[in-house]
Amino acid sequence: EAGVAQSPRYKIIEKRQSVAFWCNPISGHATLYWYQQILGQGPKLLIQFQNNGVVDDSQLPKDRFSAERLKGVDSTLKIQPAKLEDSAVYLCASSLISRNEQFFGPGTRLTVL
């Protein structure tokens, strides 16, 4: 069974630029999560989707971050414009249904200069 796929694996941008990350969850998984993991900290949930609907985006900085999961499968997370403090690893995870075990992708490491 293929795992959660993410791309790109690494991205370096300058502040005020835009960036987008892509996630392909495990086939059949209805729930998809985006986490932000700042160096030295644990992952923090940014947004949770159930199929193509948002369940929880309470910790998403909506002035600059956006995410979508239009067909209930792949998802993209966008930052526009990026700030220095956005430097982090962005992890995508999926689960069969909510409250089941979450499976994590390898993450995208973003560096904002």
């Binding site: 729930t31 030295g40 949930l45 994590f104 993450g107």
Partner: protein, 113 residues
């Protein structure tokens, strides 16, 4: 609100020695408890979980953890570590009947030859 405290940011231990990674949590309601491992440049992988029942939980790779409700702790142990156990370990908590997982800041395990 729930919180997780991992008391040690780094733990050095000699190969084949035992190790304990400490985790304490705070919650006014019932919770589920988890330990995840993150190998370098990889996503998180579930090591073990406590949902209910026996307070001693066994996981993958020879790890185990004990849930202690009176001390609100969920310490992770392994009797003999290997160089391949070099990774970051995250303790996490989820409120029963809720979706959100709260992660600790992580403990980096260094295996010394």
């Amino acid at each position: 609100a729930q919180s997780v405290t991992q008391l040690d940011s780094q733990v050095p231990v000699f190969e084949e020695a035992p190790v304990e990674l400490r985790c304490n949590y705070s919650s006014s309601v019932s919770v589920y408890l988890f330990w995840y491992v993150q190998y370098p440049n990889q996503g998180l992988q579930l090591l073990l979980k406590y949902l209910s029942g026996s307070t001693l939980v066994k996981g993958i790779n020879g790890f185990e953890a004990e849930f202690n409700k009176s001390q609100t702790s969920f310490h992770l142990r392994k009797p003999s570590v290997h160089i391949s156990d070099t990774a970051e370990y995250f303790c996490a908590v989820r409120v029963v009947r809720d979706d959100k997982i709260i992660f600790g800041k992580g403990t980096r395990l260094h295996i010394l030859p």
